[in-house]
Amino acid sequence: MLSNAFLHRHSLWIRITLHWALLLPLVVSVFAIISSAWGGDPVQQLIHFYANWALNILVLCLVLAPLSRRFKRPALIAYRRLVGLYVAFYAFLHILAYLVLDLGLDWALAFEELVKRPYILVGALAFLILLALTLSSPQLVRRKMKRSWLKLHGFIYALSLLLPLHFWWSLKSGYIEPLVYLLILLGLVGLRTRQFKAWIGSFRS
């Protein structure tokens, strides 16, 4: 099942299915708010929910390459870009919910918080990386960037560390959830030590 031929032949349908699946958390959040299923003030829940899905989808994105190797399904690699863009999408919703619903678009306050709170700075840094990866994702840009594209997209390894750190730091108590994400993400980076070393090496010289 799910042979490479199948994955290639039904590429369009797989893409449509993936889009639907990855948009589902957004749909769930909209229904949860309309139906008050998240209680009286779902602002924190919403901010947390989008962040959680950005992380979940990052895990999915990083799992595609090892899966394709393990099961000899190179066709899977073709879906990495689509999945990766949804990481940025939910990270964007996370920040939008924070700025609009929590801070009430008080830009002075937003700036003050960014400067004063290290965990927000870490989050902002991670978002800048995601933004750079998003803007450089079209094939045209990729071709133009040549070798530096790989260098830029190697920053997904940095995200694997920065995002759980931002999560951990933001919690009032407890550490289990961010720790689980950190271990999974580091494990997934560990599966590609060769690429990781090559990426680190690309900064020397």
Binding site: G39, D41, D102, L103, E113, K116, S173, G174
Partner: protein, 335 residues
């Protein structure tokens, strides 16, 4: 003082209450757990999943109407709708999510309940909460509640001042502080045993007040809110309300109060001493290390998009009643 006139909201009598057995059976049928009640259960979905998705799992606990003297001179702030005050709670004993307490507390049994008062007092007593509910002359207090997370509500509590509740307990001269404890009962509070659900807190939840704070006229022991007994998620059957301090000081479901000469250990202070002090007075001048305390989001009847931040007031706007207690205290150091 006894108020015998029937307030306008009190139109339901005991006769109008659905008998508990029938009520519970109806819940079971809806959950598809009773044979013949073939419903959602037959779809093979766990009933809790249904509840979470459709949020239709009405609590099996019931709240009862209370008699009380209405708040004489209520503040101008508009009340937080009851539906929001009962579905947005920090009560990690039922889970760390804001709606976890409402969702996970439907089987909580608030009565019978004993409150033990001991330590440096002339008379150690055990207070039977059912007796208080039957006998006490309750009053209503409409207070602002400011959470340390920078959201706030305006809630009509029903209860007694702590001073009234403890009038038979004569503190000894050595008593300087009161230590409060939430009931420890993992059967009723699943978060107390499950680290993930309970947010890694060392239970039971503990809080404390200085003696003068405890005997301040504002310090209130709530047995109800919105004219009825407290729902489990709001701290049934009795909780502290200290309106000039951050919400975490207002400990819920209290089973023990100990008078002591030592400053008691308090849960959030133990967990993060640099972020949560013993005093925890609402103070817009002292930020939480990770967010601002200058402003707050007031949870009122506006939708989530219609809500704007308002300025946080010193002592949550209760300076007149409490500021004198702290005139010799450096509030930046003793936050």
């Amino acid at each position: 003082m006894w108020i015998r006139s029937k307030p306008s909201w009190d139109y339901l009598s005991e006769n109008d209450v659905t008998p508990e057995a029938i009520f519970k059976q109806r819940r079971l049928i809806m959950k598809g757990l009773v044979a013949g009640g073939a419903g959602l259960g037959t779809l093979g979905l766990p009933s809790t999943a249904n509840a979470a998705w459709f949020s239709s799992d009405e609590p099996t606990q019931k709240v009862m109407p209370l008699k009380f003297k209405p708040h004489g001179n209520p503040p101008s702030d508009s009340l937080t709708p009851e539906s929001k005050a009962t579905t947005h709670n920090n009560f990690y004993e039922f889970g760390t999510g804001k709606n976890d307490p409402a969702n996970n507390s439907s089987h909580f049994q608030p009565l019978p309940w004993q409150l033990k008062v001991d330590g440096l007092v002339e008379n150690e007593v055990t207070i039977d909460v059912e007796k208080i509910l039957a006998m006490a002359a309750f009053e209503e207090r409409i207070y602002r509640l400011r959470c340390v997370e920078a959201w706030s509500m305006v809630i009509p509590w029903v209860g007694l001042t702590l001073k009234q509740l403890l009038k038979d307990v004569k503190p000894l001269s050595g008593a300087k502080y009161l230590a409060f404890e939430t009931l420890y009962d993992p059967e009723q509070f699943p978060g107390q045993e499950n680290r993930r659900l309970g947010g890694g807190i060392d239970y039971p939840y503990r809080e404390g007040l200085r003696l003068d704070e405890a005997y301040n006229d504002l310090t209130f022991m709530a047995f109800g809110m919105y004219g009825k007994t407290l729902p489990a998620q709001n701290g049934a059957p009795l909780r502290l309300v200290v309106p000039w301090k951050y919400g975490f000081k207002s400990i819920k479901s209290i089973s023990r109060i100990t008078f002591t000469d030592q400053m008691p250990q308090t849960t959030w202070n133990m967990l993060g001493p640099s972020e949560y002090g013993f005093y925890a007075n609402v103070n817009p001048g002292v930020d939480h290390p990770r967010w601002t305390q200058k402003t707050e989001r007031r949870i009122d009847d506006a939708g989530i998009l219609g809500r704007t931040r308002i300025d946080t007031l010193m002592f949550n706007g209760y300076s007149e009643q409490v500021a004198s207690m702290y005139k010799d205290l450096d509030l930046t150091r003793y936050y």
